[in-house]
């Protein structure tokens, strides 16, 4: 079953200082709706269902995937965790 396979949850966020037009616009919208929101930053969230392999190998692979494809190192940071 798929559900038994390990899953990587990957978070890709804009680096600090990089303009986030989407976040700004969402913040303005939330404020216009009456919510008190100081800042909004928008990022990506990915769930990868992986093959069942030793933990360290998966960790190394996912880190590589993030560097190579899932994030843009010029403007984005990433972090991830693998479950279970």
């Amino acid at each position: 079953m798929l559900s038994a396979l390990p899953t990587a949850k990957v978070y890709v966020t804009l680096k600090k200082g990089v303009l986030d037009p989407q976040g700004l616009t969402v913040q303005n919208a939330l404020e216009a709706l009456g919510y008190d929101v100081q800042e909004v930053r928008m990022g990506k969230y990915l769930e990868l269902t992986l093959a069942d392999r030793p933990r360290e190998e998966l960790e190394a692979d996912v880190a590589e995937m993030c560097e190579k494809l899932l994030s843009n190192p010029v403007i984005e940071d990433f972090r991830f965790n693998i479950e279970p």
Binding site: G17, V74, I75
Partner: protein
Amino acid sequence: MVEPAITPDTIADHGLTEEEYDRIVELLGRPPNHLELGIFSVMWSEHCSYKSSKSHLGKFPTEGPHIVQGPGENAGIVDIGDGLALVFKIESHNHPSFIEPFQGAATGVGGILRDIFTMGARPLASLNSLRFGPLQIPKNRYLMEGVVAGIAAYGNCIGVPTVGGEIHFSEVYNGNPLVNVFNVGLTRHDRIFRGRADGAGNAVMYVGSKTGRDGIHGATMASEDFDETSEERRPTVQVGDPFTEKLLLEACLEVMEENLIVGIQDMGAAGLTCSTSEMASRGNTGITVDLARVPRREEGMSPYEIMLSESQERMLLVAKPGQEERVREVFARWNLDCVAVGEVTDDGLLRVTDDGRPLAAIPAVALTEHAPVYERPLAPPDDLAERQSLDLDRVYIPEDCSAVLLELLASPSIANKEWVWRQYDHMVRINTVVLPGSDAAVIRLPGTAKGVAMSLDGNGRWCWLDPREGGKRAVAEAARNVVCAGARPLAITNCLNFGNPERPSTMWAFAEVVEGMAEACEALGTPVTGGNVSFYNETLGTAVYPTPVVGVVGLLEDVSKHLTQWFKDEGDAVVLLGPASEELGGSEYLAVVHGLVRGRPSIDLGLERSVHELILKAAGEGLLKSAHDVSDGGLAVALAEAGFQPSGHPLGCSISLRVETRPDAALFGEGPSRVVVSCIPDNVQRLQGLAEEGRVPFTLLGTVGGEDLTVSGPDGKPLISVAASEAKRSWEESLPGLFERPQERDFDR
């Protein structure tokens, strides 16, 4: 914050030479402080000061009866009658696009749009000119995907159609892609605004996005004067915000329509520094700006960072006396920051203060007019003779020219670019009369019968072989494309993409290209209204080809008379107007089929002009059904392309060709000043008469129609025979096929 000391290292880190530093001291009458040094360094950078190119650019013809604004402003302006004017300009974003292709290209589009609407014009249409290394290399695909997506994202969102452009591929662009973006806008003569700060006491207002630490001069980042972590102080890639720019565009046009402002300039390269010093300098005034009032996105920004930030979507304007409040209201309606950050003065100084405390005081002209100008040494490259020699005896003649045609049609530089322009909204604002795909795009001008045709062209290979002739041919081809739409070329803008100007061979090529272009502009009656120079397109000692990109705008008095490049009906006559050239040098054919970049292109500008006049005359009389200039891939490719109408079954044609030297040269040579036209058979005689009057060689080539494209030689022997549909497939499937390969970001490992 401790004021960092100025040492030889700081000076070098700012990209300034010792002589330049001495000159700064002389101009100020004292040593600059750190902020002042930063201000000088960006204003005296190659990008802002044109210090290496200025002495050459003066050779361009810049005047003509319809020129309203030549070089020196944010964009050039030409008169098109009825009180209307076109505002247009081209800009490079090569380096940012290499670092981050999507955002680099996107912010390039944002920048050129601001250049246009800052002059009071509503942007009508954009074009782009791109150069990449071969697409077989994953990194190049990654770059091109990102650049095209970035141009699309910005242009589509702001709602300005991207209606055309050009793309070429060559190894020389592997480490240095070129991304040049062009825009043309429409305004009325009584609604033209300039980047001038007039009227001492007038309020200087900051509008648009807040200021962040975006793109601050890389060189200065190396200096060690910072108190926070270095991670936080690294220059940040600029991110485009087309939504904010759309609001800015509408708000700016509104304050202009209401006549509330004296002058306005966008904050592009060198941000607040450049806009304040240039506006003051043009107005023979001074500006005082108080940094405490500048809207900021981040905490703890230093004055240095605020002055040098290149955050996008910002403008600086000078309000008319008493209108500040109304200006604020307009921007508030569009939900934009609008703050009086200073005022115009009459002492000629750019003064920077922080809550009144003086931080810098520099004569504005010291930053602009008194910037250094260099006569860099020039020398032709050592291997020039070798490049130019072409021994045709050693170039075999292919047996199967049909196969060569198919190969050329699939060559990415020639292949259908629909993969690209499908991603661009090219129809928004419902003015696009000729969609991408023809020689020039045509936009109708709302409220008039007129239309404007435009094209970007440049062939780096020719310029590498012979920069002077290549420069001429770039202007000629761009103008010819516009003529093929039935429009009279009015003026040009240009982007000169070169390597390191400190290299004498680069500078020599630059000088030659400029002189060639200038000569062509004279000959074709198209003055230069502005442009952009991009040097240092060089990685590890490998420079790009000298690549001038020429943008031409032309006018159609009656847009309904426009032409496209496509054959229309079976039975129409196919005619070649222009010389029966068999020049092979520098052709795509030589490069693709024989792996040779050799030869010496040339052009007769007088004949070029005659061809233009002939086509305009014939088009005016309604004689022509189509006109397509012969360029990359030569006559055979031009004939094939003329059959690929945007919808429906492709049209073949049967052609018989005189061959003087060799068939491949007649079919695939790229000699200039040639146009394939079609017309009903009854008009052939009249057309021939006009050609004779105009002293333009006239060759009846054959007839439109049939399933096949067939070209036969002098003895009736078939040279080419391919199904038009097969030719079209080859041309159509090439680019999408290359991009179907899996994507990966390839980090130069």
